[in-house]
Symmetry: C2
Subunit: 384 residues, 2 copies
């Protein structure tokens, strides 16, 4: 496991000082950093059509972007291009491990882990993101400039590249392997490789009021909820039939608010909404009828650790954990309440050791549910 | 204009006693009632493909439903079929006039006016509606049974006919021309013609929390509003990365609530949402470049009344009327604030007399806006 040093700060100190507030360089955040993946492996991943990737380069001074899957990179030369691959954590557990040290920020806030390989002079160009990101430098060196928040002019340098006008840097730095650049939303930044360079962006997501409203509408539609119609038995006769009265606005607002004010409904919405993955998951197709109870017991007895599929999102609420409620990949699950501790293991840990699971080996509801998760491809035994 | 007698009650007394509470028969609500349309005209309307219509009848004891447009009715015989036509008020102003006496209930609550023609023994079968309705009996007689609210079993008597099990009537009545049956949501009812019978259903609409949420999401998407992302600069470090904490639920809820709590945004949403028509409007296609100022002035001087297109929905809020804000057919309009009185005329009255308009004949912004409305086909001069 990667061990993170936030320049000597505690996670809380880091959050208080920098999170969502200002960018910072964390020198040697990962000491003696060794890439969990090579540039060649990344390039190979971008040949898979399920993987979202982009090539960014300049042609005669003009920015270009192409979308993967790619077949070869030979024609690109040795300078001034970048390969960007989304959601590498969905495909490679050793890359997913890189996000674990950032779990002092809860997983529901986490987005996917994006990687880039850049040749000297390569980069995606100056831009602004709406999300927080920790950019971890792997092998090679990259020069970064970060400007201040403010009114920056954005423009399409290419139809797929939203760039920003040149900015005055408040940070200018050359990142070395294991260095980390943290950038909150709204700060323009521009990276340019000094040598062939790998970098890992641990990104975080958040939502707009619009996205939440749309998500809520989808949720209500899917479950056929909130179908009760507004009532107005206390209506007052009007002489202005074309007016929508203050009382009526209040009535309509109240009816809409009911949905949000219903704590049970609202937390179910949040649980299902934030546990939806934005990128494909690497779901293994079962080639037979799935696991039997005997097989699972044998694997547990052999001491195999259980891993969560990369990119799978699963969460619980402290308030309903006692009732065995949690959320996996956009769906609510309800387990017997005595399985509370298992739910916590599944949601809090990317990997669960055999020791942690052994106490459950005789618990039938646990075994049934574990088989359901294994057969869905959501969790898997190491080496099985 | 039709004159309504609510069995001697004032509109407020009617609302207090019956509205959304219990069904009632209003004998001779319209005295000396004369149909504004004949059965033949209705049958003709249902031949138009823009008009939504249905035939309901029984074949060998089994309920049948067919959707219009229809070409002929000759094969149906003289008994036990009904023709139902939606939104007749969108096509025939003389039918739209029938809804006017109910304007003590504001127009935003109004749905379309549905009509039916039934031959002896004909009816749509026992059913429950989610909406309030005033069923006005035209020529002929119809026998009605209305049951109490409660747990009634609904079933599909045909894929397009949701029926309800037989019920104990709390009202059993034979309606004569000019009689009105008011039925709130949830009361099962069943009508069966005694003689060839025309009836007019003045329906009201309301919305569910789901529909409001979906409408709000569509509104935000259309206008690219509420794009601001949720922030969490005060985040606390967690040791339970799989949990969504109480604070985080509150944060997300607050971010969603912001949209509803923004009074300006919310009332704009309501205005645009409730002014959307659910059925086609009979928009006249302009065969030339539209009205000139001179033509409009001439029509006003000739004393032509101005009519609102049937089914067009337009509303204002008392709070923003002073600012010239109102809503027509799903869109916000902003006029100079001195035009407040005109907005009220347009929204409160289905028809505006020449006398009411003459004071505005020299007001250029009014003339410009009137031309916009005329050219859009939303209002029209009588006989022009
Ligand atoms: O890896 C890169 O070239 C771009 C990284 C970046 O801008 C980010 O993660 O926000
Ligand atoms: O006109 C009919 O036959 C049915 C009317 C009705 O059920 C209604 O308006 O709710
Ligand atoms: Co960036
Ligand atoms: Co009905």
């Amino acid at each position: 496991m990667f061990s993170l040093d936030l320049s000597g700060l505690t996670p809380q100190q880091f959050l208080d000082t920098y999170w969502q507030k200002k960018p910072t360089v964390i020198r040697q955040g990962f000491k003696d950093f060794i890439d969990p993946i090579t540039a060649d492996e990344l390039a190979g991943l971008a040949c898979d059509e399920q993987v979202e990737s982009r090539l960014v380069y300049k042609k005669a001074g003009a920015w270009q972007a192409e979308f993967g899957p790619f077949e070869s990179y030979g024609h690109l030369g040795e300078r001034e291009w970048t390969l960007v691959v989304q959601a590498v954590d969905h495909w490679l557990p050793q890359v997913a491990a890189l996000a674990e040290p950032f779990q002092f920020i809860p997983n529901w806030r986490k987005d996917d882990l994006m990687m880039s390989f850049a040749t000297p002079g390569g980069g995606v160009g100056p831009h602004i993101d709406l999300y927080d990101v920790f950019i971890i430098q792997g092998s090679g060196k990259r020069h970064w400039r970060v400007g201040d928040r403010g009114a920056h002019n954005e423009f399409a340098a290419h139809e797929a590249l939203l760039h920003v006008d040149d900015f005055e840097p408040i940070i200018e730095v050359e990142l070395l392997p294991g260095d980390i650049l943290y950038i909150p939303p709204g700060f323009p930044h521009d990276g340019s490789a000094v040598e062939p360079s790998l970098s890992y962006s641990v990104g975080f997501r958040t939502n707009s009021g619009y996205e939440l409203t749309e998500g809520l509408a989808d949720f209500l539609a899917e479950h056929a909820l909130a179908k009760e119609l507004m009532c107005d038995p206390d209506r007052e006769a009007t002489e202005r039939p074309g007016a929508i009265s203050q009382q009526d606005v209040a009535l309509i607002k109240q009816h809409l608010m009911k949905v949000v004010a219903d704590d049970e409904l609202f937390s179910r919405f949040i649980g299902e909404f934030v546990s939806q993955a934005k990128h494909d998951l690497d779901i293994a197709v079962m080639d037979d009828e799935g696991y039997s109870k005997q097989e699972v017991i044998a694997l547990l007895q052999q001491g195999k650790p259980l891993h969560r599929l990369g990119g799978l999102r699963c969460f619980y609420f402290e308030a309903t954990l006692d009732q065995g409620v949690f959320y996996v990949d956009g769906e609510e699950k309800r387990l017997p309440s005595e399985m509370k501790a298992v739910i916590q293991l599944l949601c809090d840990q990317r990997s669960i050791s055999a020791e942690q699971l052994l106490p459950w080996i005789d618990h039938n509801p646990f075994l049934d549910f574990l088989i359901e998760l294994l057969n869905a491809g959501y969790w898997y035994f190491e080496g099985a």
